[in-house]
Point group: C7
Chain length 95, copies 7
């Protein structure tokens, strides 16, 4: 089943960060919350500006992104846990 | 009786998710609330932009959509329970 | 006496829903509040967009509409109880 | 002394409703607050749109209007109690 | 020393209302607060609209105005107590 | 070291008011807070309007201004205490 | 790994201020919070205006900036602690 986000939303697969040291100890992250990493699975066609014209999306499927820890909402598609968020929730793209 | 949503509203028939395991046990959904699934029954003519022009709707009758659990309001038409929500409450379209 | 709503307001005559079963018992409506039904008596000339141009109304006198239970304010004209609300408070039109 | 309301404001003379029955008994108005009736004494030149152009007023001096009970502020001009409110506080015009 | 208000601000000299009866008794004003009267001393060049163009001011130095009791902030210039407020705080002009 | 404020910000050197009487007594300022006086040290290039065009600044370096007591934030540049605020925080210019 | 901030965001390397006197004593900063100093590592392509056009950024990589103490969020890239903030959080550029 495919899912097309509406407007300026994107579908994101979260990439779990490596919270272990090389020796395998789990490092408790008690400090200030850090952004999360993810990969874009699908993007919407873009929001519309005040004249009703589409605004092109600045990200595309496959982009590896950072987003705020509390951004987006979780959905389950074909048994996989994914997230839907707005493009504006994305902090930037890694390459 | 037909019902035409006004502006950028859509009329939605909720599709109840399958909350049972294959063996028939009900799985209590105590986790974070997930989006709901629905089918669009009717769409409005679209909101108007700042110049009063119609903004085309991005969804159409028959689309299978996901929407937030708390979106929309319930109405009963010809004895059927339906929902009215704004297009912007729709997270995306499944195909 | 006639009354012309200003801008994008409409004058509405509420249509009381039938809250009885065929046997005449009153069904207490303790569930989630449902929209109300009404008939449009008069419409304003429309709001103005950012350039001061009129935005045409999408409803007209005689339309049978649904609106949220808490929308509008009550007025009494020539002894009749009516309501004034904004067009945006109307959920849709029945036909 | 004349008073010209600024922008989209109007100067209103309140018309006291008849709160007596034909027999002269005062009817306590304990129900939901109803709109008030008034007559427009003077109107401003109109607000300006985003390009700085005047937006024409939809009401004029002499119009008999309804407005929300809590709209406007009271002023006293030449010993008379009047009200200043914004055009958008007016619900509609009676004729 | 001259003072030029910035943007759509105006410099106002408050005109104290006559709070005495003809016989000299002070009338305590315990009722709902009334607007204040003032005279415009200087006006700014006007705010800018969304395209950066000046929006002409609707009041000028010398205008006698009414403004809300809580509008503006007080300044002292050359030993005189004056007020600075935005044009939109002015209710209207007396003539 | 030079500092260029970004967008519509200005760099301001506060001018301490003379809080003493001619005889040298300090006058406690317990009354309503008055605006502060300052001199503009540097101005930004201006904010951008909705089309991305610069909006010219209405103040320039050297202008003597009044600003609200709680406006701006303090910075220290080359050992001097200065303030950064937005042009809109400036009440007016003295000459 | 390179990181490209999205829209009008910038990637910033904080420059720790020298909180010691020449004699090496740490000066407790108990006064009002001062802005922080940083160096821009990367800038986004710019936000889009109401017509969907890019708005050019006013800062570039290498710029030494001041920003509010509570601006931005922290990220770790290749083991280095950096910050992501919006261009509008930047107070000005030092040269």
């Amino acid at each position: 089943m495919s899912f097309t986000p509406l407007h300026d939303r994107v579908l994101v697969r979260r990439i779990e960060g490596d919270a272990k040291t090389s020796g395998g100890l789990i490092i408790p992250d008690t400090a200030k919350e850090k952004p999360q990493e993810g990969e874009i699975v699908a993007v919407g066609a873009g929001a519309r500006d005040e004249d009703g014209e589409r605004i092109a999306m600045d990200v595309k499927a496959g982009d590896r992104i950072l987003f705020g820890k509390w951004s987006g909402i979780e959905i389950k598609l074909d048994g996989e846990d994914l997230m839907i968020m707005k493009e504006s929730d994305i902090l930037g793209v890694m390459a």
